[in-house]
């Protein structure tokens, strides 16, 4: 434990400094800014009401590099779906394993994120605001950078990837995989990744966070995706961490004219997680689908925050977040659509659907619209329900067993999100999550 007064000093000491690092000042400033703006968010803050990160600061997490005698991951220790994945880059406790040997091809290049960005790189990496909003509109494009945990990542980041796709290249899928193991002390990871799609290019990225730990662990990744004109990104985020690991992650999409993002967040972790997904639609014709699925058993807790900023005319966003909650699992959906002044012709939908399989499961849902322009189409809604008794009887009357009938309905509910995931082995991870739901205590009880 760290005394409240010593928390700031503790995290300043954890900044990974290298000799002659001209970026050290920026890192220190980011950490100081984090503490100036309130430090670790508490539940008294509106935006963090259900996120309960109070304990994070005082746990005194240290970087993995402090762990003595940490043996890097061996290939045999990789889960089958990872070793079988065509193109993949790996992190083991934040240590890069193979990106250095990545063979560029099909217009795709992947590198480890160096600890010190060049001056030109800073903006691309999301360390500073992406620039002024388009003419005729006003939008707050810095919102994702004001997330306190993003500030902390900007100060403490110690690993990550830089993915680039060249003009009109059609690349992917590529897997960015990070695994963490228990090293016996509370360890934290601050991965930072940047994905850049040049105009007209296409890419499928799977970003996965995996690991198990009995000792307290914390993963706090930031991912920035920049799409040029007409670029198309298929992004799938898989959260697999279990045990005593807290996950606080962010992904931000920045879209130029006619760029398109389809994003899916699969929360399959057994612990606590909060994920903030932000899409900034900066030019006409930009279009984004934000999907999410949480399969919660036991005391798992997933907190999904979304923000779609329509900063330009004629942009589209569609959000679909689903939660399946068994046992004492709990979920939060806090989704916001912002239509900036002048962003006429915006088309935005937002849906949050929750399936409660247990009386003790809890969901908080808060869909929000902030519309500051005329001539827009916005719809949102939230639903919380249990399995349909009529449907269960219908299935059973055809000879399907009670458990199977429950499972079929749950799978049908989740399928709307899972079926859109473009990689078979990733869909199989969701299927394994559904199997855990079926085996959970409250299932069909």
């Amino acid at each position: 434990m760290v005394e409240p007064a010593a928390v700031e000093t503790h995290y300043l000491d954890e900044i990974p400094l290298r000799e002659g690092d001209r970026y050290a000042v920026r890192r220190t400033e980011a950490v100081r800014q984090f503490f100036r703006s309130g430090g670790f968010p508490t539940a008294t803050l509106e935006d963090w009401r259900f996120s309960d990160l109070d304990g994070l600061g005082r746990t005194g997490y240290r970087r993995y590099s402090d762990s003595p005698a940490l043996v890097p991951l061996q290939d045999e220790e990789l889960p089958g779906w990872v070793s079988g994945f065509g193109r993949r880059v790996l992190l083991s406790e934040g240590r890069p394993l193979n990106a250095a040997e990545f063979q560029p091809g099909n217009g795709l290049d992947v590198r480890d994120l160096p600890p010190v960005p060049t001056a030109e790189e800073e903006r691309d990496w999301g360390f500073v605001a992406p620039g002024a909003p388009p003419e005729g509109t006003e939008a707050d494009l810095d919102a994702p950078l004001r997330n306190p945990l993003e500030m902390l990542n900007a100060g403490l980041f110690d690993c990550g990837f830089r993915v680039r796709v060249g003009q009109r290249a059609d690349a992917g899928p590529i897997l960015l995989y990070s695994l963490r193991r228990d090293v016996g002390h509370p360890a934290m990871l601050h991965p930072r990744s940047v994905i850049e799609l040049a105009p007209g290019s296409r890419l499928t990225v799977i970003e996965a966070h995996d690991g198990d730990s009995a000792t307290a662990g914390w993963t706090n990744p930031s991912t920035f995706c920049h799409l040029g004109e007409d670029a198309e990104l298929r992004y799938v985020r898989v959260e697999l961490e279990t045990g005593n690991i807290a996950h606080t992650g962010r992904v931000t999409f920045h879209l130029a004219r006619n760029a398109r993002v389809r994003s899916t967040v699969l929360s399959l972790s057994g612990g606590r997680s909060r994920t903030d997904t932000t899409a900034i639609l900066t030019a006409e014709g930009a279009e984004v689908d934000l999907d999410g699925l949480f399969l919660g058993v036991e005391q798992a807790k997933a907190d999904q925050h979304t923000l779609a900023i329509h900063a330009a005319r004629h942009t589209t966003s569609r959000q679909l977040f689903k939660n399946v909650l068994s046992d004492e699992a709990s979920a939060v959906f806090d989704g916001t659509v912002v239509v900036a002044p002048g962003a006429i012709g915006t088309d935005a939908t937002q849906a949050n659907r929750n399936l409660l399989l247990s009386r003790k499961a809890v969901v908080h849902t808060r869909p929000r619209l902030e519309i500051n322009a005329d001539d827009v189409k916005c719809a949102h809604g939230a639903a919380i329900g249990r399995l349909d008794e009529d449907a269960l009887f219908y299935l059973r009357s055809r000879g399907l067993g009670r458990m199977d009938s429950h499972e079929i309905l749950v799978r049908g509910f989740a399928g709307e999100v899972v079926e859109k995931v473009p990689v078979e082995s990733v869909r199989a991870l969701a299927a394994a999550g559904l199997q855990r739901v079926r085996e959970s205590r409250s299932f069909a009880a």
Binding site: F393, R396, S397, G399, G401, D404, L409, G412, A414, G415
Partner: protein
């Protein structure tokens, strides 16, 4: 020989209200019986009780299928033993593919009969054949169960499922409602093709129209939760001409 279905003095309550009040009905193996009755007389309640729906409390009487008391039997057990209910209001199940669902059901029932499971290829060819016989839109079987189906398509899907699952007792609850005359004829042909000495049907309907096409061995009149009259196929015509006898006036 014991009848396939044997119901004696059956009393059933739904949410504390008595709906069936001493119902008697016997259907021998190989016969097709019709149950007719006005709206609200308890026809669907009877169908659901036979299929084993929860929430229907049997407060008296006996219900036997193949000589066995099934009052406590789970609905899936009944289905595996050959009971099939074509629903009056088939349920829409978003996200669950029709073909997938029916294949799972067929194999569950085959497992119970010690028959080998059908693989995807065998199942699809079976489906294709049955779909054609019922003049069913083949695209519908690729969609989620009943989702966005018209009333008539839902009813046809029920009969399609029945022809694939090949039950011993088929209970048809107002399958004719929502069908135009051509669809009615196709559905009736589908049922007639299945009639055999090894299989019985209970055809529940409000109108005799369906019984012109599925000609029953016997007709029963259900009123106020009881069978009040039974007879041959002519009874249906008489009911059509004269209407259901009004229930005895309740003394003021």
């Amino acid at each position: 020989m014991t009848p396939l279905l044997e119901i004696c003095g059956l009393h059933v309550e739904v949410e504390g209200r008595e709906i069936l009040r001493g119902l008697d009905l016997e259907i021998p193996l190989g016969e097709t019986h019709a149950v007719m009755g006005p709206n609200g007389s308890g026809k669907s309640t009877l169908a659901h009780v036979i299929a084993g729906r929860e929430g229907y409390e049997i407060t008296g009487g006996i219900i036997r299928y193949q000589g066995e008391d099934i009052a406590e039997m789970e609905p899936e057990e009944r289905a595996r033993k050959g009971v099939f209910l074509a629903f009056q209001y088939p349920v829409e199940i978003p996200g669950v593919n029709n073909t997938y669902f029916l294949k799972a059901a067929v194999n569950e029932i085959r497992k119970h009969r010690d028959q080998p499971e059908l693989d995807a290829v065998d199942f699809l060819s079976l489906m294709k054949e049955r779909v054609k016989l019922l003049d069913f839109d083949v695209d519908l079987i690729k969609r989620p169960v009943n989702e966005g189906f018209s009333g008539g398509e839902k009813k046809r899907n029920e009969i399609l499922q029945m022809t694939v699952l090949e039950p011993t007792l088929g209970v048809l609850d107002e399958t004719d409602s929502g069908l135009d005359i051509d669809a009615l004829r196709i559905v009736a042909e589908g049922v007639n093709r299945m009639r055999s000495p090894e299989r019985s049907f209970l055809v529940i309907t409000h109108y005799q129209r369906l019984l012109d096409h599925i000609v029953p061995d016997r007709v029963h009149v259900l009123q106020d939760g009881r069978i009040v009259e039974s007879g041959g196929r002519d009874l249906a015509h008489r009911l059509e001409a004269e209407g259901y006898t009004r229930p005895a006036a309740v003394p003021a």
